[in-house]
């Protein structure tokens, strides 16, 4: 095929432009690859920090601390790392399988992959910062994950975070320098109670008639009253003996007396209506 000098020049220009383009693109690729290099920051094998300050908190973030059978119980794991960048964590949550059943976990930190493992009475969450994100995360009351349980039977249900200083196979907070800085844990207790609706002046039998309860008084804050106290009083009778228990909310001080005990039972009220309350009870 014959090509004129003009065609050759045009072809030459096209090829030159293409070549320059390819060179530029390949240089950009090289640069991109270079930025993908993860710079290791650790200098030591994993150790427990000499100055551990991190904390893990397990917290009920629902609207009530008392649930009834069948309710879903949401618990949030919250971490503080006190300015230390965290690249991985383990949270070992222990629960009472006789009162609650583990349902699932919701990861609240997109930059971490979370792998749960479930044992007879434990859920282990291992979170690890995604490799593509170079820096660790400084936790400050940061919600890591939400665990969901189902209330299966009545009674207090304690949740704890398994942690013992010096141990590595429990809960950990690992920094980008391979130090475990976990130092303190805060746990939560919720209760699973039997719900009872009480009307003022009407005696109600509970626990197969063993105990009778009467709502004797309620004080509901009137509209437009600021700092009024809301209260409810119960008369609890068992084996011919009677005790009075009282619940109070609000007031200038912001009272939070939602639990009361009598005859080995725990009674719980969250909100008070005029002339009625929704009560939960369980054996202590």
């Amino acid at each position: 095929m014959y090509m004129s000098a003009r065609q050759i020049i045009i072809l030459f220009i096209v090829l030159t432009v293409l070549s320059i383009g390819i060179i530029v693109m390949s240089r950009q690729n090289v640069k991109r690859q270079e930025t993908n290099v993860v710079v290791p920051t650790s200098t030591t094998a994993p150790v427990r920090s000499n100055n551990p300050r991190g904390s893990l908190t397990l917290r009920d973030t629902g609207r009530s601390s008392v649930f009834k059978k069948g309710d879903t119980i949401p618990l949030t794991v919250i971490a503080d790392s006190f300015q230390m960048p965290i690249v991985g964590y383990d949270v070992v949550v222990q629960y009472d399988p006789d009162t609650v059943a583990y349902k699932n976990v919701n990861n609240l930190q997109k930059e971490f992959d979370v792998v749960p493992a479930v044992q007879a009475n434990r859920v282990i969450l291992t979170g690890i910062k995604k490799l593509e994100i170079k820096e660790g995360t400084k936790f400050s009351s940061t919600p890591l994950a939400e665990l969901t349980f189902e209330a299966t039977s009545e009674g207090p249900a304690a949740f704890s975070i398994v942690f013992e200083k010096g141990k590595t196979n429990d809960s950990n907070l690992m920094t980008d320098t391979n130090e475990d800085i976990l130092d303190t844990i805060k746990t939560d207790t919720i209760a699973i109670g039997q719900p009872v609706e009480l009307e003022q002046g009407i005696e109600t039998k509970i626990d197969n008639g063993v105990v009778s309860i009467t709502l004797t008084a309620t004080e509901k804050s009137p509209p437009n009253c600021n700092d009024c106290i809301e209260s409810a009083s119960l008369q609890v009778t068992k084996d011919g003996q009677t005790e009075t228990v009282k619940f109070q909310f609000g007031g200038f001080a912001g009272l939070m007396q939602s639990d009361a005990e009598a005859f080995g039972y725990v009674f719980h009220v969250d909100t008070i209506q005029s002339g009625s309350v929704n009560l939960y009870y369980y054996i202590k």
Partner: protein, 842 residues
């Protein structure tokens, strides 16, 4: 057939004539119109606003008008007459204003100016008005005394319709040199129609009295006077409603002199509604303290305004503190009582059994009253309750959830304006200290404490008790107030103090101007910025400190339009914006607490299972590795020993005896597909054997070497086991989780899926035994120092060693023995997390 030429010519001529007639007619019409307009214009006095002083303006409105016109220099109009005659002459000229309006400001049309002419007075204003006042500067003794020699005259007119005054509709005209109008201003109705009156005046009086009794039920009230008015909301600046309503203005007063209550109610005679209320009292403090000793339900007036102390502490303290608070609001914000209309301050003290005690509250219903239990009359308590009343009459914040928390917070914040001696609340009462503004974490447990100091504090209350934790979560805005007042470092932010008065000014404007009943913490943040910007526009750095104070307590991270806290909704927390700013100075203040890293959107992950989505289900194929980096320095030995030992690289082989069970074993390790380089081709393997039913296995170690196919071959000598046919094996590599095997030739489809049953089925004899486990992979994950679990310790080690090729790093974390710590090692351990634990004896 073609038309004849003459016909054609005629046709053309006709057309021409018609055109001529049309254009002539049009010209005449346009000329007439122009003449007519000129003639019309000549009947009015037109004032071009462009030629007046820049501050001149005319408001919009078809039915009313509001204007202020000032001459730039000289005068607006010069009359032939003098004084009032000049003013009347000017008004009779029906003055109108010409304004330039910019039109067509779009991307396709250019802007252009159009002149518009606005009426400022109704045509017959002189007939429907009266001169209400005249002021002559030349006769003003105050001006003369001050040395001013002014000679202006000022004429004030009030507008009326059908001889009834329009309330506050007025015109003022200002003259100089006796006949030169140099300024005028007014707010008048252009529409002189009035809605028909259908309600009797006696009915209107009843409405006013009922309203007054509602507002001051504790006082004896009576109607003292009435007057007819036309009422126009637009003229009053209350709304855009320019309708003229017939009203009866009814004055209601309380008995006694001076009366504690006096208000004028404008009752519409069109529909019997109260259109407007005026407080006629001067801003005079009026206190009444009632004592309710001994549980009595009838309380008696113990001390009222101006009376001497009675010697009873709660009565006298309440009297004093109510006065202090009243005066603070009046002097600082010109607020006359909590309703800004001088409402009397009535307090009931020494309550014991009449209400739940100890407590103090303010309630609007039934009587705007303070109720103070015995021993609860503290300065901050009274100021707190007083501010509840202010809130009720301004933002009217709800008393539930975040709005309620803000309601409570405002009360404490302004209590700190009255009680400036400390940062606590309740210290002078029987309750003792119940709140600490500087550190809500110290608040006592019986009040639901410790209380939160920021939105994402673990102490933030998410429950329903106390109307959604109003007294618990109030501490978040209070902490912001504390930070802006006192300064300090908190939550990674450093705040320079703006001072108490400044902080209160911003909070007051926010409360009284911008917050609404359902405002939440985010609304508070936005409103505070708006208020500060308005109050201190010349000092942006001050408002930046206000902003930082609120960012430090994270209220800017609250989602708008919800009462549920972002922290209760598990919305991830962000690093406070102020924590990323460099401080302008380093003030003294509270200890800093940490900040969090980026907190992205929550991602739901699946429940536990062998292979979570997104994680490898088989050993990954080799990938391009990262660029190796130089070896790091030797680590310091600061670690706490981990519980189980790692097999040594060269284990001591037990002596072989006649009873020894010698295992010739083949093993396969996850991720090692070929023979590794020679320097890495040795592994010390921990092997245990156990009869079914036996409690503890017998362990021994052996060195293993890989062949070309990646199968690891080695011998292990067991000396303390009795031969049998029911053996379990427990095999653990130096970076691996322990595997339990109970069949002689186990197989699996994917790495890690082999599961041993309850019975050991491996036969072992004295002497040589060939054991081939090379069809199951021993999973990696439990890196040195081993602890029986693959967890974040192991993953973090790999992550932190990525790219390392030095001996220390390789010994700890090179899972696949390829001479570098890379993503393959990481992926292998991630995969193992689905299995995680050493398989222990059953």
């Amino acid at each position: 057939m073609p038309p004849k030429p003459s016909t054609l010519n005629n046709t053309i001529a006709l057309v021409l004539i018609a055109l001529t007639v049309f254009f002539t007619g049009a010209a005449i019409y346009l000329s007439m119109r122009r003449y007519s307009q000129q003639a019309k214009a000549s009947q009015v006095l037109t004032l071009d606003i462009a030629s007046l002083a820049p501050e001149s303006n005319v408001g919009e409105g078809a039915t009313t008008t509001e204007f202020s016109l000032y001459s730039e220099e000289g005068y607006i109009y010069k009359s032939e007459g003098d004084g009032l005659a000049a003013v009347v002459d000017f008004i009779s000229k029906n003055p109108q204003v010409i304004e330039d309006n910019v039109m067509g400001a779009s991307t396709t049309t250019p802007t252009r100016k159009i002149k518009t002419q606005k009426k400022i007075l109704p045509t017959n204003f002189l007939a429907n008005s009266y001169l209400s006042r005249k002021k002559d500067d030349s006769k003003d003794t105050f001006l003369k005394k001050q040395g001013f020699n002014l000679k202006s005259e000022h004429y004030y007119f009030r507008q009326k319709i059908n001889n009834i005054p329009i309330y506050k509709a007025s015109l003022s005209v200002h003259l100089k040199n006796a006949n030169e109008v140099y300024a005028l201003s007014g707010s008048v109705a252009l529409n002189e129609q009035v809605s028909p009156a259908v309600i009797s005046k006696s009915d209107a009086e009843k409405v006013a009295l009922e309203k007054a009794k509602e507002e001051a039920s504790n006082l004896l009230l009576h109607k003292s006077s009435t007057q007819d008015y036309v009422f126009n909301h637009k003229i009053m600046g209350l709304s855009d409603d320019g309708t003229n309503y017939p009203t009866l203005a009814v004055v209601v007063e309380s008995e006694g002199r001076p009366s504690r209550f006096a208000k004028r109610y404008f009752v519409s005679l069109a529909d019997n509604t109260i259109l407007y209320t005026e407080n006629l009292r001067e801003s005079v403090l009026s206190r009444g303290i009632y004592t309710c000793d001994n549980g009595s339900t009838s309380c008696s007036l113990a001390r009222q305004e101006g009376e001497a102390p009675v010697g009873e502490p709660d009565t006298d303290n309440t009297y004093t503190y109510l006065g202090d608070t009243y005066n603070y609001y009046l002097q600082t914000f010109q607020r006359d009582s909590f309703d800004n209309s001088g409402f009397p301050l009535d307090a009931f003290v020494n309550l014991t059994t009449q209400i739940e005690c100890p407590n103090a509250f303010w309630t609007k219903a039934p009587a705007n009253m303070f109720a103070i239990c015995d021993g609860m009359s503290g300065k901050d308590v009274i100021a707190h309750e007083y501010t509840h009343a202010v809130t009720e009459y301004t933002a009217d914040l709800l008393s539930t959830d975040q709005s309620g928390a803000m309601n409570e917070a405002m009360s404490d914040i302004f209590a700190y304006a009255i009680d400036t001696s400390n940062w606590t609340v309740g210290e002078d009462t029987t309750l003792g200290v119940i709140r600490h503004a500087d550190d809500p974490g110290r608040d006592p447990a019986n009040t639901g404490g410790p209380h939160p100091d920021r939105l994402y504090s673990p102490n933030y209350y998410c429950g329903t008790a106390d109307d959604g934790g109003t007294h618990q979560n109030m501490s978040v805005p209070i902490k912001a107030f504390y930070l802006m007042t006192a300064g300090g470092s908190f939550n990674g932010c450093t705040i320079n103090a703006v001072g108490r008065a400044t902080a209160h000014a911003v909070f007051y404007r926010t409360l009284t101007t911008y917050l609404s009943p359902t405002s939440n913490f985010r609304s508070l943040y936005n409103s505070m910025l708006q208020s500060c910007g308005e109050l201190f526009s010349t000092n942006p750095s001050l408002c930046n400190e206000v902003k930082k104070s609120m960012q430090a307590v994270e209220i800017d991270q609250q989602t708008l339009n919800t009462q549920t806290a972002s922290s209760c909704a598990n919305i991830p927390r962000q690093v406070p914006e102020c924590a990323t700013q460099s401080p302008t100075s380093t003030p003294a203040g509270p200890t800093a607490t940490p900040t969090a890293g980026p907190s992205p959107t929550p991602t739901r992950i699946p429940t536990s299972g062998p292979s979570p989505t997104g994680f490898p289900t088989s050993t990954p194929q080799p990938q391009a590795t990262s660029t190796p980096l130089p070896a790091s320095p030797t680590p310091e030995s600061t670690s706490t020993p981990r519980p189980t030992s790692t097999p040594k690289a060269t284990p001591t082989r037990p002596p072989i005896t006649a009873d020894s069970i010698i295992l010739h074993m083949k093993l396969k390790f996850q991720g090692i597909l070929i023979k590794p380089p020679d320097e890495f081709n040795t592994m010390a393997i921990h092997v245990g054997v156990k009869h079914t039913g036996q409690i503890e296995p017998v362990f021994s170690d052996g060195d293993f070497i890989a062949n070309a196919g990646g199968v690891w071959i080695g011998d292990v000598v067991i000396n303390d086991a009795t031969p049998g046919e029911d053996f379990f094996f427990y095999v653990k590599g130096p970076k691996h989780i322990q595997k339990r095997i109970c069949t002689e030739r186990p197989v699996e489809t994917y790495d890690g899926t082999y599961i041993c049953g309850d019975t050991g089925r491996i036969r072992l004899v004295k002497g040589d035994n060939t054991i081939d486990f090379s069809n199951v992979s021993l999973l990696s994950g439990d890196l040195p120092v081993q602890d029986g679990i693959a967890n974040s310790y192991d993953l973090s080690t790999v992550r932190n060693f990525l790219g390392r090729t030095d001996a220390e790093a390789l010994q700890l974390a090179d899972v696949n023995l390829d001479g570098i710590i890379d993503t393959q090692d990481y992926s292998l351990i991630l995969h193992s997390l689905a299995f995680r634990f050493d398989e222990s004896p059953e």
